[in-house]
């Protein structure tokens, strides 16, 4: 009986896994086909022959500088993550541990924006970015997104869950706030910082709507924004389009495999505090 149950469970799990994973496998296999091979009917699973055609097109294409987009995305996501970690941890420390006039008000305002759909700020933020002269620059895909309240809220909650004794001991030893923050609190918060870093990187790397509308020059695009152009240029030349999609997927899939625990924990915790 239990054996039957186990068999049913594993069969179900394997079938569901196939539903989730097969499209990704198909994307990868298609990226390794030649143009003719990808047009075959009925289609074959394995590329015959294995070909770097799609990737060659991407590397040698000057109108659609995919590698440049990759570098842009990497820079943007890394700088964005750094900015979020620094600003959110400092603000989270102030809101969790320090006492000052306006603390409650600022926290209420920050949390309040969590309930607002970010898409509703796109038009005014576009005009603000324009007045700052940031349109079509790397800055515009790095900085505005860091105003999100999520990081501050997430770290503040984590800091509050850490007992303050160690910090009080450090103060008795003559440490100032900056030393308490950098030498006591931050080292204790490594798991939360790692989770926030991974989530921020993913969000920025995958962001689509904002970069599509605030970046214009082909050499300035991020990879997701560029992929749309690639589709326009290659239409049904699927090995090339899928090669671009694979390139956009690899970093986040690698990050997911390496930091799965952090991502899952971050997501779980975001649900429980709701």
């Amino acid at each position: 009986m239990t054996n039957v149950r186990r068999a049913v469970r594993y069969t179900a799990l394997v079938l569901i896994t196939a539903v989730f994973v097969t499209p990704l496998v198909w994307m990868t296999l298609t990226s390794l086909k030649t143009y003719d091979d990808a047009q075959q009917d009925p289609p074959s699973w394995l590329p015959d022959p294995f070909s770097t055609y799609g990737y060659d097109q991407i590397v040698n294409n000057t109108a659609n500088p995919v590698l440049r987009w990759f570098v842009n995305s990497m820079l943007a996501a890394s700088l964005h993550t750094l900015l979020v970690l620094v600003t959110a941890s400092m603000a989270g420390y102030a809101l969790a541990r320090l006492r000052f006039r306006g603390r409650k008000l600022s926290f209420a305002l920050i949390v309040g924006t969590l309930f607002l759909p970010p898409t509703s700020l796109i038009i005014p933020n576009f005009i603000i970015a324009d007045r700052l002269g940031w349109l079509d620059t790397l800055t515009v895909v790095v900085v505005p997104g860091a105003a999100s309240a999520f990081g501050v809220f997430f770290l503040r909650q984590f800091f509050l869950s850490i007992p303050a004794e160690l910090e009080e001991a450090a103060v008795l030893d003559g440490a100032n706030h900056w030393q308490v923050f950098t030498r006591v609190l931050l080292p204790l918060s490594k798991p939360a910082l790692a989770t926030l870093a991974v989530l921020s990187f993913l969000a920025n790397w995958n962001d689509f709507l904002w970069p599509v509308y605030v970046l214009f020059s082909p050499e300035r695009l991020t990879l997701p924004a560029g992929l749309g152009l690639l589709q326009g240029a290659y239409v049904t030349d699927y090995p090339v389009i899928m090669a671009g999609a694979v390139l956009a997927s690899l970093p986040v899939l690698i990050l997911f495999v390496l930091a799965q625990r952090h991502i899952i924990q971050g997501v779980s915790r975001s649900g429980l505090k709701g």
Partner: protein, 320 residues
């Protein structure tokens, strides 16, 4: 989580305990400006790109504001009125996008609330390979909408796509216009979105399930409750706060749908699958009528705020 907040608040706000000399605690040492210095870097970001745009957006919506014209006369609520009067140029497109968004939300939300719950229940026991399956279910979610959009545009292509070819191989119709005609376009958009994001909701459910004390299940079992009874009387009530969270965030996410229809159906057929968010950015950043677009944004944000509040209210009342 809630009691943690209160402990922190007490630490920050309570006066020093009476009868003791003023203790030089973590919170009281240092210069008066110190807290503001810690807050300042984020606060600048927040004020410029978080708070200012809210007020600015409302301000823009009260003007006839074209990005390419120097004059931006104040016109009161005219931009809003245009959205409700059938003789205005924007009326038809706006309500068509509202309709598209409503259809997508109504179709996708129930699936995204129920299917992940099933997945989470499947994973809610310790067995070999559990972490692997959880990761596999979650994997599509780490990819961006640009990737999954291009991928499914390809898979759903009526002639070259794998979906129709697989259907043909098992003797079913192989010429379904998945991305170019309704109702198929809706099936595609909803199906892809469920495939893409249901691992995310499943992980949230799973965390909620693990918070339900095992003793409750034991007690129910002792009382002779069936598996279905245990699900109805232990699992569901235990999941209530998580369910509210999942329902609310899923409604918001679905209402904000953009990339899927932008990339997969490209609005087709006609502009029937063009969503509100797409309509807003198109009006503002392609047609440069940011006044009108801002009015749409404000209405949209208000509507979603009402939906969230109603959600929380409804479920809170039932809890009492």
């Amino acid at each position: 989580m809630a009691d943690v907040i209160e402990v922190g608040a007490a630490r920050g706000d309570a006066p020093p305990p009476a009868g003791r000399p003023r203790r030089r605690g973590v919170t009281e040492r240092g210069h008066r400006a110190t807290p503001y210095l810690f807050l300042a870097p984020y606060l600048v970001l927040f004020l410029v790109f978080g708070l200012a745009p809210i007020l600015f957006g409302v301000w823009i919506s009260l003007h006839q504001w074209d990005l390419q014209l120097p004059n931006r006369p104040f016109i009161g609520l005219e931009n809003y009125r245009d959205l409700f009067s059938s003789d205005s140029a924007d009326y038809a497109d706006w309500w068509s996008s509202v309709r598209a968004t409503a259809i997508f939300t109504v179709l996708s939300v129930p699936l995204l609330v129920v299917v992940p719950l099933g997945l989470a229940l499947l994973l809610n026991e310790k067995f070999p390979g559990r972490t692997f399956f959880r990761a596999a279910f979650f994997a599509p979610y780490v990819l961006g909408v640009a990737v999954i959009g291009l991928l499914w545009r390809f898979l759903l292509d009526a002639n070259l796509g794998m979906v129709n070819r697989l259907l043909g191989a098992v003797g079913l119709p192989a010429d379904t216009p998945w991305v170019t005609d309704v109702p198929w376009a809706w099936v595609s958009l909803v199906g892809v979105t469920v495939w893409w994001t249901c691992g995310f909701n499943a992980v949230i459910y799973l965390a909620g399930l693990q918070d339900i004390p095992a003793e409750l299940y034991e007690a129910a079992r002792v009382d002779g409750a069936s598996a279905w009874d245990r699900f109805r009387h232990v699992t569901l009530p235990g999941l209530r706060p998580v369910l509210i969270f999942v329902l609310t965030t899923t409604i918001l996410a679905s209402a904000n749908v953009f990339g899927q229809s932008f990339l997969i159906t490209q609005g087709a057929p006609g502009e029937q699958t063009r969503t509100v968010v797409w309509r807003i950015v198109d009006e503002g950043l392609r047609n440069y009528d940011v006044g009108q677009a801002s009015a749409m944004s404000v209405l949209f944000a208000l509507l979603l705020a009402v939906v969230s509040i109603v959600n929380f209210r409804l479920f809170r009342y039932r809890e009492d």
